[in-house]
């Protein structure tokens, strides 16, 4: 189960944070969660869902030589 985390940036930090799954900028709040033992940052629960239902299965298929 993930939780929202507000991003705090110092004034000299001019770079924004991308979502682990889709690559979108996360402007203010990160969805921080753990997937298969790995701590990950998403733009929201929808992207966590996309990561679990699309990215991981696809990655597994590619690693096993499938398409």
């Amino acid at each position: 189960m993930g939780e929202w985390e507000t991003i705090r940036r110092d004034v000299w930090e001019t770079v924004v944070t991308p979502c682990t799954c889709c690559g979108q900028v996360v402007a203010r709040r990160l969805w921080r969660t753990e997937v298969e033992g790995e701590a990950l940052r998403f733009c929201g629960p929808d992207c966590e869902e996309l990561y679990r239902t699309y990215v991981l299965p696809r990655r597994a298929r590619l690693e096993s030589g499938g398409r």
Binding site: P18, C22, G23, Q24, V25, A27, R28, Y54, R58
Partner: protein, 579 residues
């Protein structure tokens, strides 16, 4: 039994009226912008887009502007409001920014966003995204084709309030204009953008006065859901499956090596995922795409192969998920350069998505378009006025042939939807004379349906002028032309050539000046009497050229679109069956 009026479905006629009213507010903004801006890129080229958002960050209105900017504005407005906080907006504020890492398409595009309050309460936001023709950086026109980091591309502005409660922050204005080469144009163009926001605010309030806030909010919300349902039904009609496509660009302007892109489009029921995993890591030169560019290319492609009448609001975008790995050529990370990603990379990415779907939607796809805006930027002190000028010049190219017809000729890349600047305006404003502007025969890819034709434009630097030029083109090398489909041939290549005064032959800029890339170079000085030719690329063909209607081949030869030799050799014209 009572009905909840907030969820009751509105009459389709009411929804259509509200949709058209929102659309027309965007168009009104556009007319304001076109008529009041200082630079030809706005009042002739129309390189800007106007949009409306609700207070939750949903796009509720857009019109026929630049697809790349329209899509990027989805992120620009939402992320800006998220970053600054919705409570930070006050009536009369205008936020300005151009940060390519925060949703923007590329650094010259400046967004202005204004909240619209109805009474004391926030209703939504109006925004205008426009490509300023000059924003500083290492190259005049701020299109540094050999940039290796964002700092060379111009002044980067994070979201800041340039107007606070209808009062200009003049210190901020001065800081910005001190970093641009043509500050008077910056002043005029940015004020035109801001003025369009005021027009939109006034019209939106008039609409709220007429129909009531509750009615407009309900209608806008139901239009979002309607667009989503329609788009989902379109996607559901595509056979489920994963469709892949790979393509390359010829170089990045810094290293003379191709850059590879890969896309997988997975259709699953009424949703789809467009995944760019497998694309090269971000490159040193400025053809990297920002997230906004890549997302815009995906939406652009999907809109091309689905029903055109779906109202274009946030609802239409909801069923589409995009994966653009950060740090790759489709999602540049700081401080990577990206100015060419919008004009050169976007059209290829969009065409890749379309082509990936060709096996599933053979009747809706088209071959690749020329896919280069042939960006040609120049500036200097005008010999007649003594004032510094800078111009961003675009060329239209050929579009890809469709499964049902020929490609369009001389049309700007599909991310742009911009117009050509008329020769008369061009020659009046700048010390260049146009000696030729023509369609190029044989530049359209061969096919049962022929690719659209590219153009040739021939300039002369006029008496007494010294002009600094930059260019960022693609598709100049053999093997990198716009691809055909179903046996169609590739489109003709692009070129940019120079002939110095006193020389007899045109050469590439690499041959004449030693630039690494013949199509991407920066800060080359030309003098009066020098000449430049820009040839824009043609579109790919569709289907076997031997299957082309013989009457159309004859017409092509008669019109000069296809040479008699190509007609004979490629289309089999003149064979016994032609009589």
């Amino acid at each position: 039994m009572s009905t909840d009026v907030r969820t009751e479905s509105l009459d389709p006629v009411d929804l259509t009226i509200v949709n058209n009213a929102l659309l027309n507010i965007c168009r009104e903004m556009g007319v304001t912008m076109m008529r009041t801006a200082f630079s030809p890129i706005f009042n002739e080229g129309l390189d800007f887009s106007c949009v409306l958002f609700d207070r939750h960050g949903n796009m509720i209105g857009q019109a026929e502007f630049c697809p790349a900017q329209l899509a990027a504005s989805l992120f620009i407005v939402r992320w800006t409001v998220d970053e600054l906080g919705v409570d930070s907006f006050e009536p009369g504020d205008v936020v300005l920014y151009n940060d390519p890492y925060r949703g923007g398409a590329h650094i010259p595009e400046h967004s202005v966003i204004r909240p619209v309050f109805y009474g004391e309460e926030l209703f939504g936001f109006v925004a205008n995204v426009g490509h300023l023709a000059e924003i500083g950086g290492k190259a005049v026109g701020s299109f540094a084709a050999d940039a290796t980091e964002v700092f060379q591309e111009g002044l980067r502005i994070p979201p800041v309030k340039i107007v606070k409660r209808d009062e200009n922050d003049m210190e901020l204005w001065q800081l910005i204009m001190a970093n641009h080469r043509t500050p008077r144009n910056t002043w005029g163009d940015l004020n035109a953008q801001i003025g369009s926001l005021r027009v939109a605010e006034r019209s939106l309030i008039r609409l709220l006065d007429r129909y009531g806030r509750d009615f407009i909010e309900r209608a806008a919300g139901q239009l979002l859901d309607y667009s989503e349902r329609w788009m989902r039904s379109e996607i559901a009609a595509i056979p489920d499956g994963s469709y892949e496509f790979g393509q390359a660009m010829e170089d990045d302007g810094v290293l003379a090596e191709p850059v590879w892109f890969h896309v997988t489009v997975t259709v699953d029921g009424d949703g789809l995922v467009v995944d760019w995993t497998g694309t090269d890591l971000q490159v040193r030169g400025p053809i990297n795409a920002t997230y906004g560019v890549t997302a815009g290319a995906v939406y652009n492609a999907i809109f091309h192969v689905t029903e055109q009448n779906i109202p274009k609001n946030s609802g239409a975008y909801r069923p589409i998920s995009i994966i653009a790995p950060p740090g790759s050529a489709v999602n540049v990370s700081y401080p990577g350069p990206s100015v060419g990603g919008n004009t050169e990379t976007h059209p290829k990415l969009a065409d890749m998505v379309v082509s990936a779907l060709a096996p599933a939607l053979p009747d809706r796809v088209s071959a690749a378009e020329g896919g280069s805006a042939c960006n040609f930027l120049f500036g200097g002190f005008h010999p007649k006025t003594g004032e510094y000028y800078a111009n961003y010049h675009l060329e239209g190219g050929g579009w890809g042939a469709k499964s049902y017809g020929d490609g369009n000729d001389a049309v700007i890349v599909k991310n742009g939807n911009c117009r050509n600047t008329p020769v008369e305006i061009f020659e009046t404003c700048y010390p260049l004379r146009v000696l030729e502007y023509s369609l190029m025969h044989d530049s359209g890819g061969s096919g049962m349906h022929r690719g659209g034709l590219g153009t040739r434009r021939h300039f002369l630097v006029t008496q007494g002028a010294e002009v600094t030029v930059n260019a960022l083109l693609d598709r100049t090398k053999e093997g990198f032309g716009a691809w055909g489909l179903e046996g169609g041939g590739p489109g003709g290549r692009a070129a940019i050539l120079v002939k110095r005064q006193g020389e007899s032959e045109f050469r590439t800029f690499s041959e004449a000046f030693g630039s690494v890339s013949a199509s991407k170079f920066t800060n080359i000085v030309l003098w009066s009497g020098d000449e430049v030719i820009i040839e824009s690329p043609g579109g790919g063909g569709y289907g076997d050229p031997l299957m082309r209607d013989r009457a159309l081949v004859e017409e092509d030869v008669f019109e000069g679109f296809v040479s008699a030799q190509a007609a004979r050799e490629v289309y089999g014209w003149g064979s016994p069956e032609d009589g």
